[in-house]
């Protein structure tokens, strides 16, 4: 018998998890590198910029075309381009211009060309907010240029609320996606791989407590969770000035509860499959709907009101809502209780079911 002190199995198992993760460069990148790259990319694409110019293609024949371009050049926020009809159609389709102004020469009753106002046709995509905006702006500019006068006085005052930029919305969403993804892949994939390689069976033949094995995944995940969340919070703050208005403790509590909830789901998905392909399929089937529906990249308010209760019952929606309330609105932890309740319910339910279904070989 050895006199050397033997460490606790839970400690050894957790240490093994940490080592396995850190020795897998791919896993490290997808957990830490990718979310930051995503934040950089989306942050740049949607950065707060002065209201962009509306690009307008002007097509048609005759002197009125040049005059229309001239009038639009004088208007603020409009950039007219003289294009052929074919070029303009392509430009509209690809989003290079938001609107086509089709200028027909004015006609007087006798049929000869005259110097009256031109007749215009606006061609635009009614589904695109930019297009609808461009039509209103261009129409207003041209009508004014031709002499229309306002009948009422109204001034605009810009408002900029804290935490209202897209990046402010995005960073909590990315944290949500990352916590879900790393918890689910980190646990689900590793468990199924160990089952396929019969490592689970080998471990089940030792006196190892099975709860220690499952707990070791949680402990090691929690270590990385702290790093993952801190990385995105600090990155959002340094690179984009996204401030955490609520308490950091509240952020930590929501992240921890969310992560535990997703770990429960991961164990449930990984409870039975023997092949990693099958497990990947289930993993994607679980996560993909939440990528789209849970308001990580865009608000779920855009979906019909009738389905909101369903969307709010998804764990990622609860996580995102809770985190945004704390980070963007500075809400206190207890105000996020509906989110916490949803996460706890999913987590407990999934854990209980996973333990019932779990197959060691």
């Amino acid at each position: 018998m050895s006199s050397r002190r033997v460490s606790h199995p839970l400690f050894e198992l957790s240490l093994a998890r940490l080592r396995e993760f850190l020795r897998e460069p791919g896993a490290v990148f997808w957990t830490f590198g990718f979310p930051v790259l995503l934040a950089i990319g989306l942050g740049i694409a949607f950065r707060a910029k002065p209201p962009s110019q509306v690009r307008v293609a002007v097509v048609g024949q005759g002197a009125e075309v040049a005059r229309t371009v001239e009038r639009l050049e004088g208007a603020r926020g409009v950039k007219p381009l003289r294009l052929s009809s074919a070029e303009a159609a392509t430009a509209l389709r690809s989003g290079k211009v938001d609107l086509i102004v089709d200028v027909a020469p004015p006609r007087d009753p006798s049929g000869a060309a005259s110097h009256g106002p031109p007749r215009l046709i606006y061609r635009f995509d009614t589904l695109q907010p930019e297009s609808r905006y461009a039509r209103l702006l261009v129409d207003d500019a041209l009508q004014r240029a031709l002499g229309r006068r306002d009948v009422m006085k109204a001034d605009g005052r810009p408002v900029s609320a804290r935490g209202s930029r897209y990046i402010d919305f995005l960073i909590p969403g990315l944290i949500g996606l990352n916590v879900m993804g790393s918890s689910m892949w980190g646990i689900g994939y590793a468990v199924v791989l160990a089952r396929r390689r019969r490592l689970l069976k080998r471990l089940a033949a030792t006196p190892m407590r099975r709860s220690h094995y499952l707990l070791s995944f949680m402990f090691s995940r929690i270590v990385f969770l702290a790093a993952e969340v801190a990385l995105l919070v600090v990155f959002g703050w340094l690179a984009f000035g996204v401030a955490v208005r609520g308490s950091l403790l509240a952020v930590a509590v929501i992240a921890l509860l969310g992560s535990l909830c997703f770990m429960g789901l991961a164990l449930l998905v990984a409870a039975r499959p023997e092949s990693t392909e099958v497990a990947s399929g289930w993993m994607n089937a679980t996560m993909l709907p939440m990528w789209l529906l849970s308001g990580s990249f865009f608000s779920y308010e855009r979906f019909p009101e009738a389905v909101h209760p369903l969307l709010k019952a998804l764990p990622l929606t609860a996580f995102n809502d809770g985190l945004r309330a704390v980070i963007n609105d500075g809400a206190a932890l207890w105000h996020t209780w509906p989110s916490l309740a949803v996460l706890a319910a999913w987590g407990v339910g999934a854990f209980v079911l996973a333990l019932k279904l779990f197959r060691w070989q």
Partner: protein, 320 residues
């Protein structure tokens, strides 16, 4: 065969494994079909048989990994499924037929991890020395050769100083040198008083390591005894294998002087048990000439467990 209760109790401490009427089926396939076996303490017991004979299923039932559909299993005097499960797991060492240990961990870390599961056992250093893995201490598992991986699997089984060791095809796929290293480890374990149950389809492995072997086919034991006893039962000093060109009836060879048994060996081959080679060979050649067939090849050799198996089942142990 059925001892009285008093005798059973008296011998209980001498029995490492006892299993009676073991049955296990998967869907409609009977993997194990009424198997009895008894392994004494300090004994190395081999389960010998072709792939699919039920060896692995039997061993995994003994290891407590598979619940049998029928029959009883007793290890070191206790049954699985009760409050002795933990007690049993602490006292058995296991090498599964296939286990891929975590690729990214080192030899030392893997052994240390398994050590942490057991309340008693030997140190990691001592275990690695026992397996000759000291120089690979820092190597990650995926960098190891097949033989080294197998020794690491044995390190994980032996780090707890088990009383009873289960080895499921411990040397399959290894080169001769690696195989000998594994055999040495098993011998060392036995010298320390340990009991071993091993499965194999290598005859020489069974003959070398095992005190007793059971030949398993279709989920049953069809012969059991020491390797020498089983071979002696063939009643043959030599085995003569021959291949002929042409049709020859088995009966033409039966009853020849010195020939004790005749088995078909493939389409136009025969396998004869021979008690006196000097007498038998001329008689065999005479019978071939009389039958009008040409001798294409002939081998004579010492009989072994392979011949026992072929004699009992008419099949070879491994598909070649």
């Amino acid at each position: 065969m059925t001892p009285t209760v008093a005798t059973a109790d008296a011998f209980a401490s001498d029995i490492a494994v006892r299993c009676v009427g073991l049955v296990k089926h998967y869907d409609d396939v009977k993997a194990v079909d009424g198997l009895d076996l008894e392994v004494r303490r300090g004994e190395c017991f081999g389960l010998l048989g072709p792939n699919g004979a039920g060896k692995t299923t039997t061993v995994e039932v003994l290891e407590g990994l598979i619940r049998p559909d029928g029959g009883t299993v007793e290890l070191l005097g206790h049954r699985w499924g009760g409050r002795h499960d933990q007690w049993l797991r602490e006292r058995i060492g296991i090498q599964l037929q296939q286990t891929d240990l975590a690729d990214k961990l080192t030899v030392e870390e893997t052994t240390g991890l398994f050590r942490s599961f057991y309340p008693r056992g030997r140190g990691v250093d001592e275990t690695l020395a026992l397996l000759g893995l000291e120089s690979k201490r820092e190597a990650r598992v995926h960098k190891l050769s097949g033989g080294q991986k197998q020794r690491l699997a044995l390190a994980c089984a032996l780090v707890s100083e088990p009383e009873l060791l289960f080895l499921d095809e411990p040397t399959t796929g290894l080169d001769p040198q690696a195989r000998h290293r594994i055999w040495d480890v098993v011998e060392t374990f036995r010298e320390g008083g340990g009991s071993v149950v091993l499965t194999t389809h290598y005859m020489e492995e069974a003959a070398l390591l095992c005190d007793r072997v059971a030949i398993v086919d279709l989920g049953r034991i069809i012969a059991e005894g020491s390797p020498d006893t089983l071979v002696a039962q063939l009643d043959a000093e030599q085995i003569v294998q021959l291949r002929v060109d042409g049709d020859l009836d088995e009966e033409a060879l039966r009853g020849l002087a010195g020939v004790t048994r005749v088995d078909r060996n493939g389409g136009d081959g025969f396998r004869l048990g021979v008690s006196a080679v000097g007498e038998a060979l001329p008689a065999i050649l005479g019978a071939l000439a009389a039958g009008g067939v040409t001798l294409e090849a002939m081998i004579t050799k010492q009989p072994g467990l392979e011949d026992v198996f072929i004699h009992l089942t008419g099949r070879r142990l491994r598909d070649e």
